[in-house]
């Protein structure tokens, strides 16, 4: 866990804007970033050369220059940006619903021992159910309307948040809990000043995981169900034989995934700048 933020720091650093962070990090970060760039360059070169010399089937695996120019063409079309907008819209709405539901239910269930034990078996059963199992019923109920996409996104993202919040709420220091009670803090004040700050690191982890899963499910829904968005664009590019465009869209989904990850890492660092787990990173 602690290793990956250091790796992504060159790109994520300026966003986080931690005042003490950049100086010690940059000294270590530059060679790391250069290495990373070299790695990416090698990948691009391999994808360029392998199809050209026939190791990979040229017909179905275009070299990176063709993928690049297809990407360039794609970025110029409004169709593409509408698709990106549709995907991000489904992702954002779904993630928002799942996060609110996960946090509220997590705090409600987690703050009493009875509700925790009473719901444990049901949660254990429902959680591993793959969200793609919902596809048929989502299609029957909603067709290609955004609700079917949301259904998949919310189901998948909800568990990520809920589980983390449940862990987090249980982590409350019993001494602090008793102290708060002794000082006459009410139920709401305890949630606000004790449970929430304790659970926040877990909530952030849950949100980051949920954001990644939500993006996967949004694109999957578009691909399989046919809701408008990047997934649908990809399916139609593939079936019309526009293979470089197909690959370009895959690259775009990957970039989106990386961006989502970076943004949520930055949010995590920013909102937890007071927390020992984050403060500890700076002097390293």
């Amino acid at each position: 866990m602690t290793g990956s933020p250091a790796v992504t720091a060159p790109a994520g650093g300026p966003v986080a804007g931690a005042p003490a962070g950049p100086r010690p990090r940059r000294r270590r970060g530059v060679p790391q970033a250069v290495l990373g760039l070299v790695g990416l360059l090698i990948l691009v070169l391999l994808v360029e050369i392998l199809p050209r010399i026939g190791v990979l089937p040229r017909e179905y695996f275009p070299p990176s220059s063709e993928i690049g120019s297809a990407l360039g063409d794609l970025v110029g079309t409004t169709e593409f940006w509408t698709a990106v907008g549709d995907t991000l819209q489904g992702w954002a709405i779904g993630l928002a619903i799942a996060s609110v539901a996960g946090v509220v239910l997590g705090i409600l269930i987690g703050s009493s021992r009875f509700t925790r034990e009473f719901t444990a078996s049901t949660i254990e059963f429902l959680r591993p159910i793959p969200s793609v199992a919902l596809i048929p019923i989502a299609v029957l109920l909603f067709g290609v309307a955004i609700e079917s996409k949301l259904m998949l996104v919310v189901y998948a993202a909800f568990w990520q948040v809920l589980i983390q919040v449940l862990y987090g709420v249980q982590d409350v220091d019993p001494v602090a809990q008793d102290t708060a009670r002794a000082y006459g803090l009410g139920r709401w004040a305890r949630v606000r000043y004790l449970t929430w700050p304790t659970a926040l690191p877990y909530v952030m982890t849950g949100l980051r995981l949920a954001a990644a899963v939500a993006l996967i499910l949004a694109v999957t829904a578009e691909l399989v169900i046919g809701n408008p968005g990047l997934g649908k664009l990809l399916a139609s590019a593939q079936s019309s034989g526009a293979y470089p465009t197909t690959y370009a869209i895959v690259v775009v989904t990957g970039i989106l995934g990386v961006l989502v990850n970076l943004v949520f890492r930055a949010v995590e660092r920013y909102s937890l700048s007071w927390h020992p787990s984050q403060r500890g990173e700076i002097p390293v």
Binding site: M1, G3, S4, V7, T8, P31, Q32, L35, G36, L37, V38, G39, L40, L43, P57, Y60, F61, E117, F118, T119, A120, S121, T122, F125, L126, R127, P128, I129, P130, S131, V132, A133, L134, I135, P136, I137, V139, L140, L141, I216, V219, T220, L223, V224, G231, L234, A235, Q238, Y243, T246, I249, V250, T253, G254, I255, L256, G257, V258, V260, N261
Partner: protein, 257 residues
């Protein structure tokens, strides 16, 4: 008394929910929400009948094959990448990128490259669930305790002994975390790969039922998928608890001290 209490806590809510579903849907005439009794009949007759061998077994076999391939490749690559700082620095952004690609979008591309047979599905599953395992292995290998590592070096423990006695055990909690993520990706890809092009399999059969508006069968298929996901997760937990018993014990001891 405490046994009774535990039974009540474990089965209370599931029974309440199932009963609620049963009675709420008992007289349902809504086309999309058939009575639970009909769904269960469909589950028993279709899914635990002929389809168990025709559809469920091939799906599970492809899943296991893909998962196994992914584990072998990802763990060995992960150990190699994790031990060298330079290689790790070079590959980390590339790996992060591959992990960030939603695995299902690879299905249309792999259909182009590998056709629509079983091989394609196994490759899709393996390719998709490889990344979480790989990245976690790299992370676990990187984080091997430096004192242990130096001690091993002082005692001239190198090569395969070092790998088996030091690197793999100390990375195993991380590797298992990756394996767990990989398993859920594998189940998703098992279903998705069958939605595009297949002649058998769970995903194929469920979508077939949905397209022909066989609603109880569709619901039953979803239950079947849920059961499969649940069973695999349970199985995984059993294996993990056995393999990582030393680690959980260590954590407990550290926490109570």
């Amino acid at each position: 008394m405490s046994v009774l209490r535990r039974l009540g806590l474990t089965f209370g809510l599931p029974i309440i929910l199932l009963a609620a579903w049963w009675f709420a849907s008992a007289d349902s005439t809504d086309f999309f929400f058939p009575p639970l009794s009909e769904i269960l009949t469909a589950l028993k007759e279709e899914w635990f009948g002929p389809r168990l061998l025709d559809d469920v077994v091939p799906s599970v076999l492809r899943l296991l094959a893909g998962y196994a391939v992914a584990i072998v490749i990802a763990v060995s690559l992960g150990v190699l990448i994790g031990t060298s700082r330079t290689v790790r620095g070079m590959l980390e952004p590339v790996l992060e990128f591959f992990r960030a690609i939603p695995p299902p979008v690879l299905v249309p591309i792999f259909i182009l490259l590998f056709g629509i047979g079983d091989g394609m599905k196994v490759i899709v599953i393996a390719f998709g669930c490889m990344w979480p395992i790989l990245l976690n292995t790299v992370e676990g290998v990187r984080a091997v305790d430096s004192v242990l590592s130096d001690t091993a070096r002082v005692y001239r423990i190198t090569g395969s002994a070092r790998l088996r006695k030091l690197v793999l055990p100390s990375a195993s909690p991380q590797i298992y975390a990756g394996l767990r993520q990989g398993l859920s990706v594998a189940i998703i890809l098992m279903v998705i790969s069958e939605l595009f092009a297949a002649s058998n399999g769970l995903g194929f059969a469920v979508v077939q039922a949905q397209r022909s508006f066989a609603i109880p069968e569709t619901w039953a298929g979803m239950l079947m998928l849920g059961l499969l996901g649940f069973l695999l997760a349970m199985l995984f937990k059993v294996v993990e608890n056995r393999q990582l018993a030393w680690y959980h014990g260590l954590r407990r001891a550290q926490r109570s001290s």
